[in-house]
């Protein structure tokens, strides 16, 4: 720390256990895992409203056949940005926020292993997204080639702003890699001495596996966008058929990143659910060992199934068969997880506070998404589903439940621990029901649209698709606007006057190191390692 920084510090904070600095500098220079977790979560929350608003614009355009609001060019920008921001700007940062807050608390560590790096990996993000979103205000179109940015649509035919997109992906990738490194190092080195591997909470296990996935595939994504950059400006032809390149190479590279990415998005969520369900069932998690193994198996299989996104590209039958079988196999460990959660609930002593409601919503909707996942794994059927609304329905069922619901569940669950404030249970329940109803009204009809033949990513459609699209749009508005309740709850818990005291344990059935700490958690915790029971 420089001298100047020392002088500007609050004089009271010169004791050993000082509190945070005040004002903007606290957040800019912080190396405290709790502050950084908070930054990640708020960042993700803001981005959620941005990307959500884009989704609503898309739904408005699709309310009726014919042009409603957006021209096709702007429509494509909205679908693209919605996807990119939701994946990279909402879900990944929110999961990283949970990791930052919780991993040190759960393993009995005073902080993350590499606190300065931690600061940097967060602060890369606002710049990355400022760069990405700035393309919307440039004179040419913003990225408009879908979040999958297939070449050559994004290279030879991409708008000028694609270069901004490429650099922002680089920044996001660097941020994720650094965060993942930090998490791996923390979990390996910073556990309390008595925290054996097989005592680790599943959230920590899931994040450990996720961090390895990130380390493996984010560089691939970086390579992918770098090749795009080369093709666009340095006369290479990686993806340009006219120059002897191979547009399919792009898809291979992209999906080699893209499939593990979906596990990056949901595995930490599995960890959150594995914490919440036992608490509200007042019963330990069923089959802990198998849950750990299943997580690892899902991750490993995740590396060898990428071509299931490319069944219609003219792949040879041998490749199609292999990738179909491998993909179907993932249903086994995923099934184990679902069955174990149900077994945990079975013969428990259940209560239904908001975190539990979201966990149950996850369980049901994720299972439904898993079913449609099994269907799209079958190559012949996939010929009909591929790039139709059926796929849109499928991945929103798994991602909205597997990521968004689990994040929300986790926030409700740990919010009293973080802030010392209990949220309003009635409002929480209202939020859950509106979100669940909205989500299903939005995405259930999309299955039917896809089966009836509506392609995804079209700004306008034939008359026969009108009814379901109107239902979807109504659902989307319920879904979107009910998040304002969440906003209110969070702001109230974070900034409102403290009304009543929350106990250390908060929830009757909660177990784990974080629940031994006072609520709200002090700024510095576990400076001496706790003893794990």
């Amino acid at each position: 720390m420089t001298d100047a920084a020392v002088y500007t510090q609050d004089p009271d904070s010169h004791e050993e256990h000082h509190g945070p600095e005040h004002g903007f500098k606290r957040w800019l220079f912080t190396t405290n895992h709790k502050d950084i977790g908070t930054l990640y979560l708020f960042f993700s929350f803001i981005m959620m409203f941005v990307a959500g608003a884009m989704a609503l614009l898309v739904r408005v355009e699709l309310f009726e056949p014919g042009k409603v609001l957006l021209n096709p060019e702007y429509f494509n920008q909205m679908t693209t940005m919605h996807g990119l921001i939701m994946v990279f700007g909402v879900i990944m940062p929110a999961m990283a926020g949970l990791a930052n807050w919780l991993i040190p608390l759960m393993i009995g560590a005073p902080d993350m292993a590499l606190p300065r790096l931690n600061n940097w990996s967060f602060w890369l993000l606002p710049f990355a997204f400022a760069m990405l979103i700035s393309t919307l205000f440039m004179s040419g179109p913003a990225p408009d080639f879908g979040w999958t940015f297939y070449a050559p649509l994004s290279t030879t035919y991409g708008p000028k702003s694609t270069d901004f997109f490429i650099f922002s992906i680089h920044l996001m990738g660097a941020s994720s890699i650094l965060a993942a490194l930090n998490i791996v190092v923390t979990i390996f080195n910073m556990r309390a001495p008595s925290m054996a591997w097989m005592k680790l909470p599943l959230f920590v296990w899931s994040w450990l596996v996720t961090a390895f996935l990130l380390l493996a595939v984010m560089p691939v994504l970086a390579g992918c966008v770098t090749m795009m950059l080369m093709d666009r400006h340095f006369h290479t032809s990686f993806f340009n058929a006219a120059g002897g390149g191979d547009p399919l190479l792009f898809q291979h590279v992209f999906w080699f990143f893209g499939h593990p990415e979906v596990y990056i998005l949901i595995l930490p969520g599995f960890g959150v659910i594995s914490a919440i369900i036992p608490t509200f069932a007042r019963k330990p998690l069923f089959g802990y060992r198998f849950m750990v193994y299943a997580t690892a198996v899902i991750a490993i299989l995740g590396f060898v199934v990428w071509m299931h996104h490319m069944f219609t590209t003219g792949a040879p039958i041998a490749a199609q068969l292999y990738f179909m079988y491998a993909t179907m196999l993932i249903a086994v460990p995923t099934g184990i997880k679902v069955f174990n959660w149900v077994a945990t609930i079975f013969k428990g002593s259940l209560t239904f506070e908001t975190p539990m409601l979201f966990a149950l919503g996850f369980l049901v909707m994720f299972t439904l998404g898993g079913f449609s996942g099994l269907m799209v794994a079958l190559v012949p059927s996939d010929y009909q589903y591929r790039d139709s609304y059926f796929v849109v329905a499928h991945f929103h069922y798994v991602l909205v439940s597997g990521s968004l619901f689990t994040i929300i569940a986790g926030v409700y669950y740990w919010l009293p621990k973080w802030t010392g404030q209990m949220y309003n249970e009635r409002l929480g329940q209202l939020h859950f029901w509106l979100t669940t109803i909205g989500m299903n009204v939005t995405f259930l009809p999309m299955h039917f649209l896809g089966l009836a033949g509506m392609p995804r990513r079209i700004p306008d459609y034939a008359l026969q698709f009108t009814d379901f699209n109107q239902i979807c749009t109504v659902g989307a508005f319920i879904f979107g606007f009910s998040q304002l309740i969440f906003l209110y709850i969070i702001l109230k818990a974070s900034f409102g006057k403290r009304t009543y005291q929350v106990s250390n344990q908060v929830w009757e059935g909660a177990t784990g190191l974080e629940w031994t700490l006072p609520s709200p958690v002090p700024y510095h915790t576990f400076e001496t390692a706790p003893v794990v029971p």
Binding site: Y150, Y157, M328, L378, P380, P459
Partner: protein
């Protein structure tokens, strides 16, 4: 509160179901008119029913617990948390179910991959944003464009029955014939998808993918491009007309290039009046150029430049013609020389030189506005 909410949920579910039943036609895959589409349908339904059975099982146990094992009903937790036997059961049973699904899927897939013994081969090329069909043995080749008028899309006219699913020149194939498709693309990735034929095949530049269908029912089948290919991805439908062999033969005769070619050629070379050229040109412009350069001639800059007051359009005649004939490689501006004949080209160029006040600029420069098919032919020769 809880009761109120469950009533609301029930209401919404019932509403959705009745709405579905009465108001909406398509909620499932079409059974289709080809053997493969039907096999796919059966596989799809089989998988769906299996999922229903598993879902019913899992959800009944879940719902049973949620009702019976509530703390508010005095349930106390039973502390079991491990059971190797159970874990093995729910590892092995799903595995067996998956094998049961993989077998029929493999059989269907083998069938789909059998492109042997086709009687007709059509090369399908995706362009931004239209399809080109080439009947390799018959020597017939044409483009298939969206034919829904812009007015319907912009809500200035009532929408027709096949809004966005209609084209000017459909693919025509004989019934009960194995048709082989060779699918590729000229610019970006597209996908040729007709649900009722059970075919979706990506069209990728630099690759020629094979696929096939055998339609056994006469009729018109519609589909759309299935891979995001740019701004007008939603506006490049596919229409396949399955006709009797007799009708197909008639169609071939009519469209074979050497049939009446001579007459055709002279017809397309005949000089036309200014009025004729403008009518022809406007129609052709709306069809071939309007989606990018817009009916207003203002384009969608910076992706698509305006043609109003464009240097190229208002410059020397031969330059204008040559530009549109050859396009700009590597951009969305294609070489229209291959797509339009001399007469159509003459109409389009006349139209763009006339419209949006371009004529005034051209007259100022003392250049001709009217373009005749013979001019096009001259520039074509020169550029060869």
């Amino acid at each position: 509160m809880f009761q109120w909410i469950s009533r609301l949920v029930l209401f919404i579910v019932i509403f959705l179901f009745t709405f579905t039943a009465y108001a909406v036609s398509g909620i499932n895959l079409p059974y289709g008119v080809t053997p493969t589409s039907r096999e796919i349908y059966d596989l799809h339904m089989a998988c769906f029913y299996i999922c229903c059975v598993i879902g019913t099982l899992v959800f009944s146990i879940l719902i049973y617990s949620l009702i019976k094992h509530r703390k508010s009903k005095g349930a106390t937790a039973v502390h079991f948390h491990e059971h190797l036997g159970l874990e093995i059961v729910w590892t092995v049973i799903p595995f067996l179910i998956l094998i049961g699904l993989a077998i029929p899927a493999t059989i269907v897939l083998k069938h789909i991959h059998n492109t042997d013994r086709s009687a007709l081969t059509i090369k399908v090329t995706g362009y931004q944003w239209k399809w080109k069909y080439e009947y390799l043995d018959q020597g017939i080749s044409f483009f298939s464009n969206l034919s829904t008028p812009q007015d319907q899309i912009l809500n200035n006219a009532p929408k027709g029955k096949w809004f966005l699913l209609e084209v000017d020149n459909p693919m025509v194939v004989p019934v009960n014939t194995k048709v082989k498709l060779l699918v590729t693309a000229d610019d970006v990735v597209h996908a040729w998808w007709v649900p009722e034929l059970g075919v979706k095949q990506d069209a990728i530049p630099g690759f020629v993918n094979e696929n096939w269908f055998y339609a056994d029912k006469i009729g018109t089948y519609r589909g759309q491009c299935g891979e995001l290919c740019g701004i007008n991805h939603g506006f490049m439908p596919i229409v396949v007309q399955v006709v009797s062999q007799v009708d197909f033969d008639k169609w071939v005769k009519l469209h074979r290039p050497n049939a009446g070619n001579e007459a055709n050629q002279t017809l397309t070379m005949k000089p036309l009046s200014e009025k004729e050229l403008m009518i022809l040109g406007k129609a052709q412009y709306d069809k071939s150029c309007g989606m990018c350069h817009q009916a207003t001639g203002l384009g969608l800059p910076p992706s698509f430049p305006p043609l109003k007051r464009s240097r190229v359009v208002t410059g020397p005649l031969d330059g204008s013609i040559a530009f549109v004939l050859t396009g700009v490689p590597g951009t969305a501006m294609q070489a229209f020389g291959q797509q339009l004949n001399n007469k159509e080209m003459a109409g389009v160029i006349t139209y763009i030189r006339h419209a949006w006040g371009n004529d005034k600029i051209i007259i100022n420069h003392k250049q001709p506005i009217i373009v005749q098919p013979s001019d096009i032919e001259r520039v074509r020769r020169k550029n060869l």
